[in-house]
C-alpha cells in the first residue's frame, strides 16, 4: 500500500460516524480484528472511553475483560460474537458476562455483523450490545 492509499475504508468511516451518533453501544473492528473505534455508550459499559491511540488487536484487547457465559464458564475470544464474525464472517449473537475496566461485572447481549464494502471485500465488523443487568 502506498502512502496515497493509506486511508480507512469509506464503509468504516461511515460506520464510525453512525456509532458516534448512537446511544446504542457500538464497537468497530477492522479487517484484521483490531478495535478501531467504540462510542461513548460502549465506553460506559466497557468501563473506559475510547482514546485515539493505535488500534489494538482484538486478541490483545479482549482477554482483559475475561469473557464468560451466563453460567460463568470462560468463553474463548473466537466464540464471542465478534470472534465468530471475524472467523466465519457471518452475523452472530450471544450473551456474555465480563468484568469491565472499572472492575464491574457486566452481562450483555451482543450482536455482531460483518461489513462488506463489496460482495467480496470484507472490511471489518460491528458489534452492538445491550447491558442486561449489573452486579456490583
Amino acid at each position: 500500500m502506498t502512502e496515497a492509499t493509506q486511508q480507512r475504508s469509506i464503509v468504516l468511516i461511515l460506520a464510525r460516524d453512525l456509532a458516534s451518533m448512537l446511544a446504542t453501544p457500538m464497537l468497530i473492528v477492522d479487517v484484521e480484528g483490531a478495535v478501531i473505534f467504540y462510542n461513548e455508550a460502549a465506553g460506559a459499559i466497557l468501563g473506559r472511553p475510547f482514546t485515539e491511540a493505535e488500534p489494538v488487536a482484538f486478541e490483545d484487547w479482549g482477554p482483559a475483560f475475561d469473557p464468560r457465559d451466563v453460567e460463568g464458564k470462560p468463553v474463548a475470544l473466537a466464540e464471542t460474537s465478534l470472534g465468530i464474525v471475524l472467523k466465519e464472517r457471518t452475523p452472530a449473537h450471544r450473551t456474555l458476562r465480563f468484568r469491565n475496566a472499572e472492575g464491574i461485572e457486566r452481562v450483555v447481549e451482543s450482536t455482531a455483523f460483518p461489513l462488506y464494502a463489496r460482495a467480496d471485500e470484507f472490511v471489518g465488523a460491528v458489534a452492538v450490545f445491550w447491558g442486561k443487568h449489573e452486579e456490583d
Partner: protein
C-alpha cells in the same frame, strides 16, 4: 499533463445571463496526458463541446472516468460525438455497485424511454470497467480511485504524471462522516486522493448558511472545502460543482469566503468553462 474544464456546474445545466462567467454546463474535464492519451473526468453536458473540439485531434482510445452516475455527470454521454464513430475505442470507468454492473446502470439512462438509442447499438467500441480501489495506469499516468462520501456509490480520482497530481472530488461531503477539524486524516473521506495534490478540484456547492438545510445531500460548504483542502495540503484549490441556484456574483462571494478561510495559499479559484490547468513539470498550474 494539461486539463481543461468543459463543465463546472452541479446538479442541473444552468445556461443564462447569470452564469456566463463560470458557465452552465455540468461536470466535464478534459485531461490530456503527455503522450497524447485523453482522459475525461465525468460526462456532464460539458462533454458535448469537448467532443466537438476533438475533430481532427481525436485519439483512437478515450478513457472516461465517471465519479458516479447522477445525471449531471452522465447526461452528456449520448451527445459525445466520438460515441457515434465506429473508430472510437471508448473505455468507461465508474464506481462499483452491489446491485448492477456499470454497463447496466448506464444503459438505464442511455436507452428508451429516456434516450432514443440503446447503448448496445452505438457504433463505437465501448468497454466498461469498475474503477479499481487503488492505483492503476492509463498511458503514462497513474490513476488512484477511492470511494468517497456522496449519495450512492461515488469515487474520487487522482491523476498523477511526471511528479504532478490532479485530484478530482466533485461531489463530496466529507463532513457527513467526520468532524473535519478534529479527526485524524485517515478517517476523512477522500483524504488520500487529495493529499498534497498540486491541484485539488473540489465540491463547493453550498454556503455555510445553506448547508444546514442540506446535510446528507452529498455536497460541501465553503467552510468544509477550505478545511478539507487545508488538511490535505493542496497547493491549488479549484471550487467546483456550482449550485444551479448560484449566479456568478454569488459564486464570487463564495470564492472570497473560501480565500478567507484557506490561508495556506492564495491559489484558489472558481472553476469556469474554458479554464486551463497546466500540470506539466515546473508549471504554475491554474491559469
Amino acid at each position: 499533463m494539461r486539463a481543461r474544464i468543459w463543465g463546472s456546474r452541479g446538479s442541473l445545466a444552468t445556461p443564462g445571463p447569470e452564469t456566463v462567467r463560470y458557465g452552465g454546463n455540468t461536470a466535464c474535464i478534459e485531461v490530456a496526458l503527455s503522450d497524447g492519451s485523453l482522459v475525461i473526468l465525468d460526462a456532464g453536458t460539458g462533454i458535448r463541446g469537448l467532443g466537438l473540439s476533438l475533430d481532427g485531434r481525436r485519439p483512437a482510445r478515450i478513457d472516461i472516468l465517471l465519479t458516479h452516475l447522477h445525471l449531471d455527470h452522465l447526461e452528456g454521454l449520448g451527445f459525445f460525438t466520438p460515441l457515434w464513430d465506429p473508430a472510437t475505442d471508448l473505455h468507461i470507468w465508474g464506481p462499483t455497485s452491489p446491485v448492477q454492473s456499470l454497463s447496466e446502470r448506464i444503459a438505464t439512462v442511455l436507452s428508451p424511454p429516456l434516450f432514443p438509442v440503446h447503448l448496445m447499438d452505438v457504433p463505437s467500441s465501448v468497454s466498461f470497467h469498475d474503477a479499481p480501489q487503488g492505483e492503476w495506469a492509463i498511458g503514462p499516468a497513474t490513476i488512484l480511485s477511492q470511494p468517497i462520501i456522496h449519495a450512492g456509490p461515488t469515487v474520487g480520482y487522482r491523476i498523477q504524471e511526471r511528479g504532478r497530481s490532479l485530484a478530482y472530488l466533485t461531489d463530496h461531503e466529507p463532513a457527513i462522516g467526520s468532524d473535519l477539524g478534529s479527526v485524524a486524516p485517515e478517517w476523512i473521506s477522500g483524504f488520500s486522493v487529495a493529499r498534497r495534490a498540486d491541484v485539488l478540484i473540489h465540491d463547493c456547492q453550498y454556503t455555510e448558511e445553506e448547508y444546514p438545510a442540506r446535510v446528507g445531500w452529498g455536497h460541501s460548504s465553503t467552510e468544509h472545502v477550505a478545511t478539507f483542502a487545508g488538511m490535505a495540503g493542496a497547493a491549488s484549490l479549484v471550487l467546483f460543482h456550482h449550485d444551479p441556484m448560484h449566479g456568478d456574483e454569488q459564486l464570487e462571494a463564495m470564492l472570497r469566503r473560501v480565500r478567507d478561510l484557506y490561508p495556506h495559499t492564495d491559489d484558489v479559484a472558481l472553476a469556469r468553462e474554458g479554464m486551463e490547468i497546466d500540470l506539466s513539470p515546473g508549471s504554475a498550474a491554474v491559469g
